[in-house]
């Protein structure tokens, strides 16, 4: 048993092609991810949005909107920015980003000039104010960049908020008029500089002279209230570590790399089958019990896979500095379970009768690629697909081995306790046992009419 184990391990270590998948592949991809995604988390945070505003007569007449643009393009002086980028609204400034103001306003003289900038894709959109004082957002067609849709939503939110404040002012004025017997006029640009204020056009209505004092008091109070909206929300962190957009790439990569080590298990089994390799034929005639050969081979495969993936983990964790929530011992245990699952899966694929090594390798790679797609390895759209599947079809993701390995690290990074981690480890062990049982059935039934 010990000899078989040792020599199988030595033979596998000399199998350079299999090691490309098990070791070189995760190292190369991890390095690539590090080069690409080291600054990706900041890109998910709100940044100053460039916007063009058509500076024509209508715009200059809409004093409140001019004021809004001015305020939103100034950095907040009071009120710390929230994690969403919205500054506390108790100061004289509107929402701002971590680094500066919400908007970077560029005034242009005409719509044609704004169109030209939009056409050249220098900006996502522009604001133009119509004769009634209502601002309109004009954007370019949806680009390939998915962040563009988020940006245009933010731009729309700004002017929606502006019009809604105007609507609120109108409603309050109308209700107040019923109470005091007059309809007070909402003065143009009366709202404070904190942002949304009633535009002069839509809200402005002729006011009767009496009772002027009550109307003036209402306007002053409303102006004050609208100018200083309250912040009703504060951020709470429920996870053990800060949410990160980059770690999921590495976790999915480790899932992918773990499943790729199944190649080693598959190779080992093929080398023990008399009808698949000359080595298998020779070993079948040897004096060593077949089950001993298989068990020793599988242990050697698992050990080699585990060492390869552990090297990849250490490289990602220590050389690249990717966080795993500071739970290294649990991560190593998780890797052991992950490689056991992969070795068992490789054993199952290797045990499929009447199929060449190349075909089995192809099937394994196909399954690994498919599972990795649904685990979100292949970029932003794949991550969206993975999130959608996790939400809508959790059972499907439960049987996705790459997703399960990825989940191992998620549970350690995000969750307080270890319940979810051990539950995932248990799922991997069950998966391993099922693969090994099936492989045993397949191998037990094989009879060689001719080798």
């Amino acid at each position: 048993m010990t000899n078989t184990f040792t020599y199988t391990l030595l033979a596998l270590v000399r199998e350079r092609d299999a090691l490309i998948w098990a070791l070189a592949f995760p190292l190369v991809l991890a390095t690539l991810f590090f080069a690409m995604f080291s600054g990706i988390d900041s890109s998910y945070r709100l940044k100053t949005v460039p916007i063009v505003v058509v500076d024509d007569a209508h715009y200059r007449d809409a004093a409140a909107f001019v004021s809004l643009m001015r305020v939103l393009s100034e950095p907040a002086e009071t009120g710390a920015p929230t994690s969403t980028g919205a500054a506390a609204h108790d100061g004289a400034h509107g929402p701002s980003t971590d680094a500066g103001p919400l908007l970077d306003v560029r005034l242009v003289a005409s719509t044609e000039e704004a169109d030209a900038l939009l056409k050249s894709r220098d900006v996502v959109g522009y604001y133009v104010v119509d004769a009634s004082g209502t601002p309109r957002l004009v954007v370019s067609a949806v680009g390939l960049d998915i962040t563009e849709e988020v940006t245009r939503t933010i731009l729309k939110t700004v002017i929606d908020n502006y019009l809604r404040s105007a609507a609120t002012a109108e409603t309050v004025m109308a209700k107040t008029a019923q109470g005091i017997g007059a309809a007070p006029a909402w003065p143009a640009g009366a709202a404070g500089p904190a942002g949304p204020a009633a535009p002069a056009g839509p809200a402005g209505a002729a006011a009767p002279a009496a009772p002027a004092a009550a109307a003036a008091a209402t306007i002053a109070e409303l102006s004050e209230t609208l100018a200083h909206p309250l912040q009703f929300t504060k951020e709470l962190r429920v996870t053990a570590n800060d949410a990160s957009g980059s770690v999921r790439y590495y976790y999915a990569l480790l899932g992918f790399a773990a499943l790729m080590t199944a190649q080693v298990g598959m190779l080992t089994v093929v080398r023990t089958q008399a009808n698949l390799s000359p080595l298998g034929a020779r070993r079948a005639l040897g004096g060593t019990n077949r089950s001993v050969t298989l068990v020793a081979g599988l242990l050697a495969s698992w050990l080699l896979s585990f060492v390869c993936i552990l090297i990849a983990y250490c490289y990602i964790r220590f050389a690249l500095g990717v966080s795993f929530g500071g739970r290294d011992p649990a991560c190593v245990l998780g890797l052991a379970a992950a490689t056991l699952m992969a070795t068992s899966f490789g054993t199952l694929i290797g045990a499929i009768p009447r199929m060449t090594l190349g075909a089995k390798g192809g099937i394994l790679i196909g399954i690994t690629c498919l599972a990795s797609l649904f685990a979100g390895l292949y970029g932003t759209p794949a991550q969206r697909l993975s999130d959608w599947l996790s939400r809508e079809a959790p059972a499907f993701q439960q049987i996705n081995p790459v997703q399960q390995v990825s989940t191992l690290f998620y549970t350690l990074y995000y969750y307080d306790g270890y319940e979810a981690f051990f539950s995932t480890v248990g799922a991997l062990l069950v998966f391993s046992a099922a693969c090994l049982a099936l492989a045993a059935v397949l191998m037990g039934r094989q009879r060689y009419a001719s080798v």
Partner: protein, 409 residues
Amino acid sequence: MQVFKTTLRIVLRHPTYLIVYVVLISSFAVFMGLSLYSGTPTEFTQDRPAVAIIDRDRSEITQGLADVLSEHVTLVEVEDSRAALQEASAKSFAVYMVILPEGFGEGLVASARDGKPAPQAETVLSYASVSAYSADALVNEYLNTARVHLAMGSAKTPAEAVALARADMAHEAPASVAAFGASSPLSQQWVGYMLFSSYTAVISVGTLVGLSLASFNRTETRRRNLVAPLGPSAMGLQTAAACVIAAVAVGIWITGLGLAVFGGSLGTADARMLVLVLAALFAYCFVALAIGFLLSQLTRSELAINAAANISGLVMAFLGGVWVPLSILGEGVIAVGHFVPSFYYADTISRASALQSYRLSDLAPLLGNIGIILLFALAIFVVGLVAGRVRAQSADAGGSAAAERPQGA
């Protein structure tokens, strides 16, 4: 034509790779395309982030929030427990979760009428906090509007405040998409499919061509072919023709599948846009062909060719901005991206999808990109030729080095 037929036969004798890499991976591309925005590109659309409301108060004020938010975001259910919140945050079930504590509604009324401090709701954000910005703005806007109505006396009860706030929140500013050209932009789904297909092209053509050519590079096969009555150039031409046919066939498969699935969404797009995108695809297939040739000259191992084609495909897809928008990556990555052909492929598709006129000045960047892609193919091919020559002369390959007299003999 015997060599030509044999080369194609070798390609067809790898059905697993044909099924896995050509059929399965292109099906992934279809999946990816279908997961993208399916509307007309000329319609104004907004991001609808997944938002969860955990309402522990169940007052009129807090219940009105769900009605308002449902108009602008995608509401999802998240259980009210720490574990569920952690899971939702970890797996991005919701990019924004708002927890409204007990007494929140009463607190808001007291804040409006008696000037007491505003009650605080807690929010949990995913890493994509930029998407959460608009949801947070909406929540605060609704609560402020309800508070204004209560404070100003335009609403006597919380129910009235909710009704008025909902009416105010129904107002939306006009927004439109500027149309500059005669035709509409290309469907995002087809564009997404074509972008992903660069990976399909590299791993399928790279692996199949690599394996096929590597079969001819086996030492004994090579020795046998050297003494065959067919000259090396004729043999090389026939092999090359077969490989080109394999590459073009993969391009045709990708094109056909894309048009079959997404053709309906391309109805209003200008055919010239499609032609430019397809020209980029076929040029890219030649890059994949050159990669396969290079791999066949470097190794004869099936696993090594397979792995190298996979790594090349993944690296080029990431660096070229095919899977992750380059705009969210650093300047350094964008600079490096210029050294991979996938960058020019993605750029061609990006430019073609929003092409507004077909003057030479507008087409020049796209045609230039396609030219650069072909130059990449040529450069990789030349490297393959050099690698092949070095290998052919080596002792291992039975070349001239094998005939050298051992020193001291």
